[in-house]
């Protein structure tokens, strides 16, 4: 194809306004799709990473009865080349009696209680990172904290207490509450928390946890209540977890649920003088879950396969030992799942939603193609004579078609590049934008835009006096638009779009989904060329003789 096609496309693109409108339309469509799908992808990614943050890579689970000899199992799992660490825990539901309000009647909330061994739990999950009440890790973080943020004046006492899950002063067992378990914690716009009343800062108080043991027969036993000192609170970022979860020490949880080590007595024998039955063995302590973290480079699926084999080996060796009275459950009685499988119910709908978004937003491609078709149709009509001139100089039909296809391609590429840039800026600053939307607009903003609107109104009046219809119309539209923006800003009182109670996470994901951006750009470019194809074919079919006589 001759060099003239490139020359003409360059000139058509840089000397005219209509193609810039097409570039702007493509850019906005591309930016819209990238921003929405990036936020959705980030949301999905957060869900996934939070799963790993909260429960490691693979979970062995046997609710209620638990897994005996879990210590041996943990040791066997930690010996696996695929595993980095393993941690036992007891997972149950219970009641938590809060210290507020004042008086005898206190609030009671239901909670998912995790009895954990904090040291190994921190190695398997990002538990320590989720501990909220701790001093800033560096001066920059300290400076970023608001004046009234309680963390500014904290020493590392609450952090140490959280690590030990024990109150250093009283020696009492400690509990950690999810940040939203207590209603007194109030989230601020910068994402930090304050107690509604400073007196109710939770680490100064005690809670009473009530758990109900369930026997192997499935019957409910007498409930156990125990008070814990709140040593800290945790903020995982997953709202549902932060609203429901309470951590207590593993030993306390086992004792309260009667999953701790206990003597086995011979019920068929005669009691001794004190009325006690003879002890014939020991029932080992149990854990309802064992969490396992993969070594770097090992996928959860690979780890799961190794864990399944390790559990089978553990079961065989323990069951074969005649001295062991309490046998671990057979492999088919325990559930071994990756974190992704455990969160499948949560992740699958979000994945489907993202896919649906992609499909729905693909309609914007059709809008792009339609817009370019309309604009190019007009351009071809306007350029009919140019086509005749080029044909007279020997340009072929294919050459004429190539001009307009290239033109569409250039608009697609320019629009995609600009759109990606806009999307990058928006996604990167989406939390700041969201925060700004949530606040009242500063007076200088609406006053200055109001002044611009007045200037535009002056332009409209001047154009009317000079009888310029187009100029009058454009100035009027500008004046009305600016006045509308100024009015909107002046009356804006702030609103919350991203409610963490609905969207699980406290902040909007702000990572660009580059894979999606690449696909969106390719789609926009392809549809721009498709939109240009019909007018291009029409231009190629123009009879040069008629074109040269075209007025």
């Amino acid at each position: 194809m001759g060099t003239y096609t490139r020359l003409l496309v360059r000139r058509y693109l840089t000397t005219r306004i209509i193609p810039l409108i097409a570039v702007g339309a493509v850019a906005l469509c591309v930016a819209l799709v990238i921003v929405v799908v990036s936020v959705m992808s980030g949301f999905l990614e957060n869900l996934r990473s939070s799963g790993r943050t909260l429960m490691g890579d693979v979970v062995i689970s046997r609710p209620v009865q638990g897994i005996p000899h879990y210590g041996q199992l943990v040791a066997a799992l930690e010996a696996l080349p695929e595993a980095a660490a393993a941690s036992p825990l007891v997972d149950t539901y219970g009641l938590v009696r809060m210290p507020y309000p004042e008086g005898r009647s206190k609030d009671v909330v239901t909670a998912q209680v995790w009895a954990i061994d904090p040291e190994s739990f921190a190695r398997v999950t990002d538990f320590e990172r989720t501990i909220w009440w701790k001093p800033a890790s560096d001066p920059a973080e300290a400076l970023a904290m608001e004046e009234d943020d309680p963390r500014r004046t904290l020493d590392d006492g609450p952090l140490k207490a959280a690590r030990a899950m024990r109150d250093p002063a009283s020696g009492k067992p400690g509990a950690l509450l999810g940040m939203h378990v207590s209603v007194v914690n109030q989230r601020q716009r910068d994402g930090s928390y304050r107690p509604r009343v400073s007196h109710w800062w939770m680490p100064n108080h005690e809670v009473t946890v009530t758990l109900v043991p369930i026997s192997e027969a499935g019957t409910v036993s007498q409930s156990n209540s125990r008070s814990f000192r709140v040593v800290n609170e945790v903020m995982s970022g997953v709202f549902q977890v932060d609203r429901n979860r309470v951590f207590i020490p593993l030993a306390d949880g086992q004792e309260m649920l009667r999953l701790d080590e206990a003597p086995i007595v011979d019920t068929s024998a005669e009691p001794d003088a004190d009325g006690n039955l003879p002890v014939i063995g020991t029932s080992p302590a149990r854990a309802t879950q064992v969490l396992v973290r993969a070594r770097d480079g090992v996928t959860p699926t690979e780890l799961k396969s190794a864990v399944e084999k390790a559990y089978e080996q553990f079961w065989l060796s323990t069951s074969a030992d005649a001295a062991v009275r309490a046998k671990p459950p057979a492999p088919e009685s325990v559930s071994i799942m990756t974190w992704e499988e455990r969160l499948r119910d949560l992740i699958a709908p979000v994945e489907k939603e993202r896919q649906m978004m992609r499909i729905l937003f693909s309609i914007t491609y059709l809008v792009c193609a339609g817009l370019i078709l309309a604009i190019f149709w007009a351009i071809v009509s306007e350029k009919t004579r140019d086509v005749g001139i080029l044909r007279a100089m020997g340009a072929s039909r294919a050459g004429i078609m190539a001009i307009f296809l290239r033109y569409g391609l250039a608009i697609g590429i320019a629009g995609s590049a600009i759109g990606t840039g806009i999307a990058w800026l928006v996604v990167r600053n989406i939390n700041a934008i969201h925060m700004a939307l949530g606040e009242e607009a500063p007076a200088w903003a609406w006053v200055s835009i109001g002044l611009l609107a007045m200037g535009a109104a002056g332009g409209a009046v001047r154009s009317t006096l000079r009888s310029g219809a187009l100029a009058t119309l454009l100035w009027t539209v500008a004046a009305l638009g600016l006045a509308g923006i100024a009015f909107g800003l002046a009356s804006h009182r702030g609103f919350l779009i991203w409610d963490p109670a609905v969207y699980y996470f406290a902040t909007i994901p702000s990572q660009m989904d580059w894979e999606n951006a690449r696909l969106t750009c390719v789609g926009a470019i392809v549809f721009s060329v498709l939109g240009a194809a019909v007018p291009a074919a029409r231009a190629a079919d123009i009879d040069p003789v008629r074109a040269l006589r075209y007025e």
Binding site: G2, T3, L8, G394, V545
Partner: protein, 246 residues
């Protein structure tokens, strides 16, 4: 770069009739359809144009002179009859070969200049040279092509206007750019359709003088006009009336 025009020996206007003509139309007919109405424009016109000859086709409006010019220049195909270039029927050319014929052998000058408004004078002039060559060929010959365009513009007194757009030029200047563009690729024949029709007398005379200069250098010119005085500048006048050569 050699100038082919200066190397072509000018053919005298009146020579032996057996000489192979550069261009020849035999019994060409062309009918246009305007809606449901068929309008016969040419009804069997014959014309022979020898190399180096300046022939003017003279006729009133609607006589078919522009249509004949378009057929000779390969812009259109006759419904009947043949057009031959150096003995070869261009009417039978494939569309691709006809495009190449226009690009390599014909230069057009139109009454309304027909310059591309987005391109400057230099870009308009080099345009025919960019159509027939690919990207690499153009890159290799870029300097040569630009030098040729600048030389032509200089010859027509436009060297100070190379960066101007057509809208910034006078009518006479635009037509001179159009002639420079038509000569850019060294055509064998220049087809001029009322080249002075949109100019005042002084500018018209300047254009005719520019054409005469090219003719003296050996270029074959076919010009269409309805003005007897302008037609008289040619070696030979062909009268066209009612779709036939009178």
């Amino acid at each position: 770069m050699t100038d082919r025009h200066s190397s072509i020996a000018r053919t005298p206007a009146a020579q032996d009739g057996n000489e192979l003509p550069l261009l020849e139309a035999t019994g060409v007919a062309r009918t246009y359809r305007l809606g449901k109405v068929e309008v016969p424009v040419l009804k069997g016109a014959d014309i022979r144009i020898r190399a180096g000859e300046w022939v003017t086709i003279l006729g009133s409006s609607g006589s078919g002179k522009s249509t004949l010019l378009h057929l000779l220049g390969g812009l259109d195909r006759p419904d009947a009859g043949t057009v031959r270039f150096r003995g070869e029927s261009i009417s039978a050319f494939s569309p691709r070969r006809l495009d190449r014929y226009r690009n390599e052998h014909v230069g057009f000058v139109f009454q309304f200049y027909h310059l591309l408004p987005e391109l400057n004078v230099l870009e308009n002039t080099v345009l025919p040279a960019t159509i027939g060559v690919g990207r690499w060929e153009f890159a290799r010959r870029r300097a040569e092509i630009r030098d040729r365009a600048r030389a032509l513009l200089d010859r027509f007194g436009l060297s100070h206007r190379v960066r101007h757009r057509p809208a910034q030029l006078s009518g006479g200047e635009r037509q001179r750019v159009a002639i420079a563009r038509a000569l850019m690729h060294r055509p064998d024949v220049l087809m001029a359709d009322e080249p002075t029709g949109n100019l005042d007398a002084r500018n018209g005379e300047g254009i005719l003088e520019a054409l005469a200069e090219q003719h003296r250098a050996g270029l074959t010119i076919v010009m269409v006009t309805h003005d007897q005085w302008i037609a008289s500048r040619a070696d030979r006048i062909v009268h066209l009336a009612d779709g036939r050569v009178a």
